[in-house]
């Protein structure tokens, strides 16, 4: 309870400083709008449907790209962890490409796919898949072999061994791989939406981009606020329950 009070006081103070600074008249309100004009923009965008539409489009792209990234990344991560040859080849490739910021995929995606949803998806998948491989691989390498040994003496083998022992044993690493992937997918999509301007859907990144084109600072800040809000909400809703479960069971911090 005390923590909630402290946190709300902090954010209220932040809003207070912002509104005093913007009201002081030292900076042009065009470049430095007050929190109230940003709120008014968000309210208007919410009522006329642009905001809901943008969130919907963004989430759809994110979920599709993220799902493809996981579908490729999780099995590949498990494979690289189980074979030295795959580790030296695919693992090394993943390690290299993971250092490439996802925005660097945009020029290539634009040339290959043009101004299409495909380009957008490509950037998200490329931004996600390598980090998922690395996180899963790293995790699976650290499963204590004693679990499989103990289970085998009790008569567990084959499918039973994989679903009842190896899968739950690797859960902490799968979750950290998925969380890593989510963070990367989200960043990649924002980069893609800002740079790939297409007409098939108008996402949050594009809202931000056109805010700049129109010099509408309230729109820019409003879109940024929404991106922060959705990013942290997704973290809460998607991963916190898992992490709490892991923390309770394993007694370790899953962070």
């Amino acid at each position: 309870m005390k923590r909630i009070v402290v946190a709300s006081l902090f954010f209220m103070a932040l809003l207070g400083i912002w509104s005093i600074a913007s009201g002081s008249g030292r900076w042009s309100p065009v470049l430095f709008p007050s929190p109230w004009s940003v709120a008014k923009y968000l309210q208007g965008a919410l009522l006329d449907g642009t905001l809901v539409e943008a969130i919907f489009v963004t989430m759809k792209r994110l979920l599709v790209g993220y799902a493809i990234g996981l579908l490729i990344g999780l099995p590949l991560g498990l494979l690289t962890s189980s074979s030295q040859m795959l580790e030296d080849t695919i693992g090394a490739l993943a390690l290299g490409l993971q250092t490439l910021p996802s925005v660097c995929w945009v020029p290539l995606a634009l040339l290959w796919f043009g101004q299409t949803e495909g380009a957008m998806l490509f950037v998200v998948v490329m931004g996600t898949v390598w980090s998922v491989i690395i996180a899963t691989d790293h995790g699976a390498c650290t499963i204590p072999p004693i679990y499989a040994r103990a289970a085998r003496t009790m008569g567990s083998q084959g499918l039973h061994l994989w679903t009842r022992v190896m899968l739950p044993a690797s859960l902490p690493f799968l979750v950290s791989g998925m969380k890593q992937g989510w963070a990367f997918a989200w960043r990649s999509l924002m980069a893609a939406e800002i740079y790939v301007t297409i007409l098939t859907g108008f996402g949050l990144g594009q809202l931000l981009h056109y805010g700049r084109e129109l010099q509408a600072m309230d729109q820019v800040i409003g879109a940024m606020a929404m991106i922060v809000l959705i990013g942290s909400l997704a973290d809460r809703i998607l991963f916190s329950p898992w992490e709490r479960f892991l923390h309770r069971r394993w007694g370790t911090n899953a962070e």
């Binding site: 003496t153 008569g155 009842r164 022992v165």
Partner: protein
Amino acid sequence: MNMAEAQWQGVTPEHVSGASSKLIVESVSKWFRTPRATVHALDSISIQVAAGEVVCLVGPSGCGKSTLLDIIAGLTKPDSGRVLADGQLVTGPGRQRLVVFQEPSLFPWLDVFGNVMFGLKLCPELTNDERREVAHRFLGLVGLDKFERVHVHELSGGMKQRVALARALAADPQVLLMDEPFGALDAMTREHLYDDVQRIWRDSGKTIVFVTHNMREAVCLGDRVLLMSRAPGKIIQAFDIPLPRPRSIYDVELVGHAARVADALRGTVGGGVPE
């Protein structure tokens, strides 16, 4: 079936016919090959364990005693020789021979009760109600019936090994293999567990093979103590421990037996192998 096995099938060594031998290890050898060297770990080891007997394997560290236990469990294949359990050739791990490991081997994603149930769920002859009843009973036997819903990481080291013991016993194995199960525990907890193991052995009459490097532990628990040499591991001496049970590790006679084993071990570590 490979050549060696076929050969074994043809002859019946006289000690196989002894129906009282629960477990027979016949001239088992094992080499470990690493890129840099080949280590001869076990050198034609033969052991017979009678039903209901407790046999302790002691030896210097690195003598291959844990490897031997792994081979008996079926987790590792011997390079030559074979292991028979109840007259059956051991070809892989199975719940007739359950292991209590030194490292904590409980599954952290299950609670205490779930861990004991894991082995029981692999016993198709039991109904679910029977499984639950058995799990309750064995957790009671190791004194942890109050901790059934506790998560593994919340247990102390001694409690974890008690749960591992209950998990192994619950599935009613023919042979219980214990690989330095109390090595990582403090002295006080260990002494408690010696009492528990002796009580459980008295009540269940299980055949137990117990690996340790602690002489007093070996003498306290074993009907027989087998001393292994440093690698390549061989059984170099056997000690009968004809003391009444339950034994206390502070018993003067027991300490005397432990000293005998320790003296013999010192001979092997010093290099001279007393034959």
